[in-house]
Symmetry: C3
Amino acid sequence: MQATLGFERPKHILSASQFNRAFLDYMYELINQIRKFDKTKDGLMYLQSLLPHRRAMLYFTQPSTRTFMSFQAACSILGIKPSEIRDTATSSERKGESIDDSLRTFASYVDLIVMRAPVAGLSDRIATLLDATPRPVPIINAGSGPDEHPTQALLDIYTLQRSFKSASGIEGKTICMVGDLKRGRTIRSLSRLLANYPRTQLIFCSPPEFKIADDLRQFLSSRDVSFEETTNFTAAIEAADAIYMTRVQDEYDQAGATKVDTRAYCLKQEHLPLLRRDSVIMHPLPRRDELDPAIDHDPRAKYWRQERNGMWTRVALITILMGVDSHIVLPTL
Amino acid sequence: MQATLGFERPKHILSASQFNRAFLDYMYELINQIRKFDKTKDGLMYLQSLLPHRRAMLYFTQPSTRTFMSFQAACSILGIKPSEIRDTATSSERKGESIDDSLRTFASYVDLIVMRAPVAGLSDRIATLLDATPRPVPIINAGSGPDEHPTQALLDIYTLQRSFKSASGIEGKTICMVGDLKRGRTIRSLSRLLANYPRTQLIFCSPPEFKIADDLRQFLSSRDVSFEETTNFTAAIEAADAIYMTRVQDEYDQAGATKVDTRAYCLKQEHLPLLRRDSVIMHPLPRRDELDPAIDHDPRAKYWRQERNGMWTRVALITILMGVDSHIVLPTL
Amino acid sequence: MQATLGFERPKHILSASQFNRAFLDYMYELINQIRKFDKTKDGLMYLQSLLPHRRAMLYFTQPSTRTFMSFQAACSILGIKPSEIRDTATSSERKGESIDDSLRTFASYVDLIVMRAPVAGLSDRIATLLDATPRPVPIINAGSGPDEHPTQALLDIYTLQRSFKSASGIEGKTICMVGDLKRGRTIRSLSRLLANYPRTQLIFCSPPEFKIADDLRQFLSSRDVSFEETTNFTAAIEAADAIYMTRVQDEYDQAGATKVDTRAYCLKQEHLPLLRRDSVIMHPLPRRDELDPAIDHDPRAKYWRQERNGMWTRVALITILMGVDSHIVLPTL
């Protein structure tokens, strides 16, 4: 399959940098196929028949609702039984166990580990650790610190591709990202994936304090991605094929940090006339003031669909990791 | 079905005031049928085959054990995969998300939401919110503040009906409710349902500080329900066909509130000889001093059965909301 | 079955003292059979077909990861739907409910209760309570205070038996237990089970402050088990067919207790040459300093397998309690 599809089947999902264009295109078709099974009880039961003998651990030590629920639903859709750690106070870590031992323990009982942690790089380290044991299991990074959030980036790409499907896809489009671009891991992961689409233009719109980090700037230059950094929100709205709003990541703030004024970077009803008719509005959610709920009913608002796309994206990823994606692409129903 | 059955199929379960007599009679038959499936593995597997492609969210931000477990078991019985939020500290609400957005998120991933919250009216608001979206899901109010607890009232009615089945049903019976009648939402919801049964008499027995609220008094008058308010516990016991004990709802007390003396409103072994031979003792549980565990073995004590009836009542309700009740009433087994 | 197998089918699993040699031998064969089903999807689906109509409550009010997950996985393997209480703050106990009432409530909704609690004797009390109700359910003690941990002892016995299978079994072997032998409930339960194997020799190696308790000493003498207490770790390592390391149980310490110096009782890489070539190293986990992770790759290190054996041991126990073990021993696949 690797030969024909143009990518190597991943053992783990750790970083957005793992995915090439062939993988992204394959994911798009796979998710579309999976969604067809959602139409009927028979289709849903077929999906559940793929992995009913498997168990997963959702190890979420960083607060999360939608990513957690999205993975939990994705597991159930495939018949996988999910268990969870969300509070290390109930766990052996309280008895002085190392995180390595805890995760090796989980790996003893399950067939897949999905992890979200406040520290960067943890999922890489655990993947390496488990690969050296007699019973390695796939790891999915569901968000690690201010660093990476590869599954979010994949669902964002799927949503963009789907939104532009009658407009010849993502290539050549102008994607504008707004908000806390310095600490938003979503922004980092998505920008990296967009480098796979020729002629795409990126606009990074933020207060000066929240400009993108140097390493991302260097990455984009090295890949010849055309991008612009600006504080002019109105101009950015007018130029965008897709406007991707994000919230301030102040959970990483030190207590007493001076708050950055982001009031000029909030999308409101008054901005809607500026936005192109075929443009789309996205947001990884949760939102605060930066995205007015009054916009929700506008047909260009795609963020609620984006959220549900996340669930299907995770279903697709799990089928690939567990080697049952071939049962989807050529459905036997 | 609506035409023949005499009630409109509910989209949500929000309040006891939704249910008319036809609905209550239908529920009684439906629950009895469902319980027959509990006798064998084949029967239980048939129930699980009804909704195995569905997922539910149990959103319980108010402490609860039995209502939570009862719904969780009810979901499992029907094959539904339940997920849960019981602690908002692990959720996006910590990142400043509105409750509306949180619940719309849950609705993206599941097919049914069961919610119990400390604030009154939340489930109504969320039901209205979701009904305006492209993917509405049914809401069940599993208790909201001091206000409503419709599923408890339904299970109480079922238990009464079952207890009186060889005594020509609930009509004309004397039901005595004891305890904190002012704040007990169970009392409010049950009293409203009892108005559907002609000639029923209600005795409300409580310390003066805990008399029923004005709105309930007015409701009963408007429906011509005969009722009496008293502080005489002994006389109430003697008159009752069913005695419904409740605990003091002091979780709603302000710190430092003067405690009301309820010692004269506790059912003890010494009261048993006063109670009619064919009378029944009920309690929504959990109990404290107001119901002596020494009574548990008395054949008139129905509260443990009442608890298990709750599970079957919730199974029945879910089948109605999800449109599979017709598979129960005419079992194909 | 009781007649032929040489033991009475247990109603509950409360204490290691329930198990005789016939039971342990039966468990060994049963677990080996069950593990064969783990090889294929069909085998795993057969296991899930045994109890898919059943529900279990995991009541874990004492912090635990591996015992909890091990039972949760064991339930899923058999098709049982597990629910959990891990934090009494979300439960009715906050409303003043007694533990007895809480557990009777759980018993209303499920078919099996697994409990781990910080107080000794709770599972015995609850088993007695439920046996007097119309709907008793089996109770498994998954660890109670400093007292008993029977399922840990069973998995330890299985691991020893499996490790010694080409060396004529456990009989006559020298088992050395190291660490906090005074408060380790694992040690207590395992020592009691080892009394079922003739000519077994026990070495208890610990600092003087952590010597085994008097009641265990008396039990072993009454059963004519040969044992030795020592502070000489090096000699113990050299003599052992199996070395069973344990951690200091300081969660039972009073604040401000003087710490015992256990540095001389830690197994490190430098000890490996002292250990016999066919010896085995075990540990109930979680570990701290007493077992160096550098040892993990040594072929004599069995503690990670021991952990996974725990899951299969619990699967086997549940099949016995629920009366479906006969479907395993003579597989129909």
